[in-house]
Subunit: 288 residues, 4 copies
């Protein structure tokens, strides 16, 4: 929301307990921080508490490091971890693609027009095809081909690009390679994948063809964090649209493209705005 | 659509071949039948042709039996099978339920108000709970309890009620028993089940709990014909709604109720209006 | 959400100012009230602050009157008004109808099954038609016919029934009479109407016919509070569905029924759960 | 649908009368044309008949001119007009824009990837801003600035570009100028505009700001043909999404962008596939 403009964002979680809200809100008050948006959720099944606040300091001498230190001092008693984001921060990301360009095109459009507060540091692909699109946007394009033999080296190169770019999020925008368990693990919680199916619907290859065979009347897409199991990580966002018998597999694929773009962009925005919390294999999305 | 009022409906299918449309439309013209709605679909992958026409005879002496005979004579060359429905026909149905009444309540409301052109001949349940609802609508209620020992006898009784009622469709409106393979087979193509999941998503028990564990952001329901595998028959309609982390399993169940009602009612209407064609384990729904 | 079970709800609003969150959350902490759900919103254009908390007292001797008094003492400094609702409270309502029964049937179903925490005290209609439905649910039915001559007396009778029933909300569930400005004013903020159009789309008579003439591809409904202008009060919820050229006006009406039911039920639930705040002619709905 | 590949499309309309279907389908059969998709609709209120057939000639010597002549000879008796489109035809279009590029970006992406079978002949804008985007796609960009004084000359230039380009459709992709009545008339039925509101909702300037003031819970967009009244032409497609109080006007604008893109692209596709029929100020969209 535009209410975010000029606002700091604080996102925190800890085990459920009396006073979890108060420890945050009282501190913000004492620091003369004006809360513009606040959302908390206490998961009684999981026994975990989540809070997100957007706020504006009403004092001239607000200092991030002091704020962090003092909040940490209070949070420790609650076992609370937190993240803090300064206003107008753009999240540094690396985007990974193969040949399909619909998600990349959409992300770059939102990046270029400022709709997504991301800072695209690099694009990685196992194919050369999308280089012109990257270069029109003035972005470095790393063509890192892959074979079963070269997979370890290629993944090492991927990791190097990500590390050197300073990216805090990796976006798998239809990257058609299965990451090794090691790389999945490395990127766990900081890589978002778009899966072309309503998980846990159709896994494995060609989900739209599976959907066709099944005669489904809805198709969808799932944006999720990757974990050790590429297609099974915690879900962030899902999208869906109606189809009918006249949608042959190739039509489902086409329809899926629009859903994939919108769903992935939504998930990236939630992540960037620190609305997504990971806990016990599920997400809490304080979507506002 | 209301264009159906006063109209006959003809629904036919046959293997793909030149002239499949013409054999139907020319015949209708020759019989002075005015077509108000026409939809055909030729499935090039399955090699099967489907057509549905709503029409009004423009002659005073239209006779159903003659029409049937003469059309059959022409259709035989194409291997075409067809169904014909007179105007204002109400489909005789039996509804099967257990304890949950949301789908039954919705169906009976649409039945009572004429929104669904069905003629409810009987309600069957393995529990006595919903008898008052049936009796308020003046409908016979067959309480047929079931145990693993009495299952064969109970299913025989179910079949008897269905047969004697003259029902052409059995609606499983949250009937919480797994039908035997034999009864599934008996009812194949003429029984619609509402499954509380976006098939092929969550099978087995408590799909909403599974959905919760998975942290899905969408829940849905699937109306489908039963075949030998109760939960895996051809899909007729699907519905979906957005949810979030704050939906505990019981909330998903509640949300699911609305989706189940609407999705089941839609599937029954499609079936009653002869919009659904079964072929090779999939449906073609000429939904208008 | 089911998290509400066993929880008190506190809803408050006041002009925007530093400390608005803290004054509420600190108080709850001091009272040993465990917050299960918290949502606040600060409207920077309107300069107004809104907060809603669901909480459970963790002390044995929690006393509502003391809680109210002490909170009021703190709130006064902020010009804050608040409402407090005890766990498992059912909102006393009166439902007004004419002849169409789809919304009434839906509300009574949700009332009977506990999906809506309302306590239906009476049903008022200007027609006798829906009396059987009311009586099946064991509810008093007031048939109050109306003509242009008897309108003042009829409205006086309506007001009397509402007052004597102790209802805190009046639900206009397709009551096809225009309330007088005086009665609108009397019920302002405590009467919800369902309008069969996507306000501000089609006003006046027969909006579905207007929609047909216009050839719209979407139809919808709007649930809103009434104010002095019956069809123009603050919007609480809206629903929509796709239609096409084959939907004649009567089909749009039929389609509209489902949307009206769902949209009205949603608005009533939001209101009952104290999620709706009125300010400056608009609503803030902390939908959770 | 992909079933279109390799198929001719025939779209026709005429006054309602017995034999309207047969005159088309019998002819196709006689010409050995295999119908892959057929949809007809008879508007009983408007007394007009519409039909669309996708077909493949099964003879080697199919000749378009002969087909046209012979069909015309039969159609004349019914007062039937028709259009015929060869397989893989790309519709020549001109796109008009101002400064906002979201719709243009989306259309060019679909054009470049073949998702939309259009042939973009030129882009016209009253501002220079989007020239780089056009030139990246290798498309001519006509910067035609406009003032109230130069409007007649500018519109003459617009018309000249359209005429000389051979465009059969003009797409107003957020062109923020009101066309003169004369140019509207000139382009009637062959220009599609995207309106950033759910017509007939908010007309005039800044509809999203109007929507904010009204506190709507849904925002949408409308793609329509222009006629003499720019914002009031026959509707082709509408899209919608849910919003809440936290959407300030600028957020509604942002949300609207996605809806506008998808809705405009859908309308252009329907038009290109000859699915849209204009009659008596409304559209019939045989959407398949």
């Amino acid at each position: 929301m535009s209410a975010l403009r000029g606002a700091w964002v604080l996102a925190a979680q800890c085990p459920s307990r009396l006073g979890t809200v108060d420890v945050v809100t009282r501190f913000l008050k004492e620091q003369s921080c004006y809360i513009t948006e606040l959302h908390s959720f206490d998961d009684y099944r999981g026994g975990q508490f989540f809070i997100r606040a957007a706020f504006r300091p009403e004092v001239a001498d607000f200092e991030e490091s002091t704020f962090r230190e003092q909040l940490a001092a209070r949070a420790v008693e609650f076992g609370m971890t937190f993240e803090l984001m300064a206003p107008e921060t753009r999240l540094p990301v690396v985007i990974m693609v193969s040949k399909a360009d619909h998600c990349l095109n959409d992300l770059l459009y939102r990046y270029r027009t400022g709709q997504l507060a991301i800072d695209v540091r690099a694009i990685i692909s196992n194919h050369p095809d999308l280089e012109p699109l990257a270069s029109w946007h003035g972005l470095p394009y790393h063509h890192l081909p892959i074979t079963s033999e070269t997979k370890p080296q290629q993944e090492a190169a991927v990791k190097r690009v990500v590390d050197e770019s300073g990216a805090e999020l990796v976006i798998l925008a239809r990257y058609m390679q299965v990451l090794s368990a090691a790389l999945c693990h490395e990127f766990a919680g900081r890589a978002i994948n778009i899966h072309h199916s309503l998980l846990p619907g159709f896994k494995g290859a060609r989900p739209y063809h599976q959907a066709y065979e099944k005669g489904v009347k809805l198709v969808g897409a799932t944006a999720h964090y990757i974990n050790d199991d590429l297609d099974e990580g915690p879900i962030i966002a899902q999208g869906v649209e109606a189809v009918d018998h006249a949608h042959y597999p190739e039509d489902l694929v086409a329809k899926g493209r629009d859903i994939e773009c919108l769903t992935l962009a939504r998930a990236v925005r939630y992540h960037q705005e620190k609305r997504v919390f990971l806990h016990a294999g599920r997400t809490v999305v304080l979507a506002g």
